[in-house]
Symmetry: none
Subunit: 193 residues, 4 copies
DNA sequence: CATGAATGAGATTTCATTCAT
DNA sequence: GATGAATGAAATCTCATTCAT
């Protein structure tokens, strides 16, 4: 397939951009360096993305899509709510540890003005699954009766924080597994009735 | 004071930089705009800070110093650990709500590559007070026996999360006070024995 | 040739730089003026030379290369040493008179701190031919038994001096020819046994 | 004397400027660095010299004046011409070796566009003594009957060249003395009848 | 599709010079 | 005289983007 090589180049560009953005920040990373790192010509980058901003947003969406794909894999609608939350929580942490660079990029993106370039509905979409889960938990009186966004915010912050901690301390896989499980129980204790 | 006017210009520059950095991000804010906003000549900025990067780091240190000054005011060494933690937690949240711009700047700075420009000991210094408090709590068997850094991470994340939530939802002062108190009890339940 | 137009721009830049450097000195010549004089965009200059300094050194090497190319053309290995020296001496003078701007640039470059940016081997390479010739003369007991570098210095100084004199007084071609011949006999008398 | 300290500062400025100009070139030496090296405030420099250019020219004149003072010390009007020339030649070389930095500065100045800022009569004045000497020699039929400027140019070039050679090779004082004497005989042989 | 030379607006930084103290 | 903070014009250099090949 001819378009295969094109897609490959696009992947190379995204990979290079991810690596360099995390390493040096958005603005300290010229498109020319991205192109060089990706092994393509300068202009090629602009065949796939009209502007640098477009590339940045596309990269974010790409990563979020890959994360979602990971999280939704296990169809576990039948499990009790706590187990569903746990699967979600642990899944997110594991993904973060296996994709540290992606994780760092998301973090940087979310506290940058680029976030505003994303359509609000796009942002909401990202957290839809989690929000639904929390809503379900509140209705079932398993979770505390507080605003959904509040519980979601607490959950997200803890996820970010724990991930950061794991990235910094780099425990053994066993210790990591244990810590993640414990973390969930602690957080669950905080938000459950 | 003779040096007053000089110091004033420096303050103006820091204020202008803070405002613009939060509004547009580090790189989308030219030094020329900072100078104009501060009401000083372009070169004056570089009289005080050799490079833009130096300004960014200096601004971070300045904010952190002001925050620390705020937190240490209340000498409450005699209170029980939980009360000390609560004072700390609530103090930080109040400061964050009263200094939203500063808070946003810190957030942006910490998830940017500029963080690496800070000497590690400088970073550590920032969290010294909190760490000591946690250590004390663990020794007194009031807090769970887990790594200090881990508990610190949980606390910090919670602080960040709640702040974010408050900034977004802008509740009434009363509701805000109630939410903050509740939040503390939640996180305290999570980390205390 | 496809690369012709690209090379042309580089040539234009070198020509413009040469002219302006000699006219106003290195530092009184902004890169913007060079670009304008060369008829290219400002950034184009930096496409070919990473820094202004790099351009200055490249220009020097370019001129020296062109001079060397001129000097080595006449293959006169069979002539007696004096004739070879004379050919060299007169060739250099003629080149200097036909390329006054280049000559002035070299002079300015060599008594500037930019000289230090040149690798020592590069500098040596420039005078290799002359040094070999002198060495040959000394071994053949045609030239005085003195350090090669010293004789080389005397010769070079003479060349510079005469060139300067010719550029200032601008004699008729005939008078110039006569003066050059006389000069050579004078310097030859000084360095030969 | 109060003006003593002022004069001292002026001297410090000239010394600092000399050192830095030779080390980095005219334009790569900011006035601020000169002031710092001289141990005076930035603005003080501009009390003594209205502009940087004025400082540069003043420094040149200062050095030339000091050189002239050196050269005219020995009043040897009674000596034969060759001896007067020799005294001049050797005096100049010795001065150059004892004042390498000054020598380098003069060299740099003379092949720079700053030379044009000097009034022509000022330039002529610098070489008046030498020119008179040469004229005298020609009239006395001791020197070749050639244009005075030509002989002067040859002499100057050789002086510069030999100085450069000595600065580069750094011979022992004895060897230096010997080489200088030999050089004079060689040059004298070249220009004398 | 892909390339990379070319562009030029704009960013950071420098620096001679001024001037209030 | 002496200071050094302040100035702002100007210099070097960067970089997103275009376009002819």
């Amino acid at each position: 397939m001819i378009s295969q090589s094109a897609t490959d180049k696009q992947r190379e560009i995204l990979n290079a951009a991810l690596k360099l953005f995390v390493e040096h920040g958005f603005h300290a990373t010229p498109t020319s360096k991205i192109a060089k790192e990706a092994g393509v010509a300068n202009g090629t980058l602009f065949h796939y993305y009209n502007t640098k901003d477009e590339l940045i947003v596309a990269l974010y969406v790409d990563i979020k899509t890959r994360l979602s794909a990971c999280m939704n894999v296990g169809e576990n609608g039948h499990l009790p709510i706590k187990e569903k939350c746990k699967a979600f929580f642990i899944g997110a942490l594991n993904w973060g540890m296996e994709n540290m660079t992606e994780f760092r990029f998301v973090q940087q993106f979310m506290s940058s003005p680029y976030l505003l370039m994303l359509a609000p509905e796009e942002i909401q979409k990202q957290s839809r699954v989690a929000m639904d889960l929390i809503n379900e938990g509140i209705k079932a009186k398993v979770l505390k009766k507080m605003p959904v966004e509040f519980i979601h915010t607490l959950l997200s912050s803890q996820l970010f924080g724990i991930n950061q901690y794991l990235m910094t301390t780099k425990p053994t896989p066993a210790a990591q597994k244990k810590l993640i499980e414990e973390s969930f129980e602690m957080v669950w204790g905080m938000i459950s009735v």
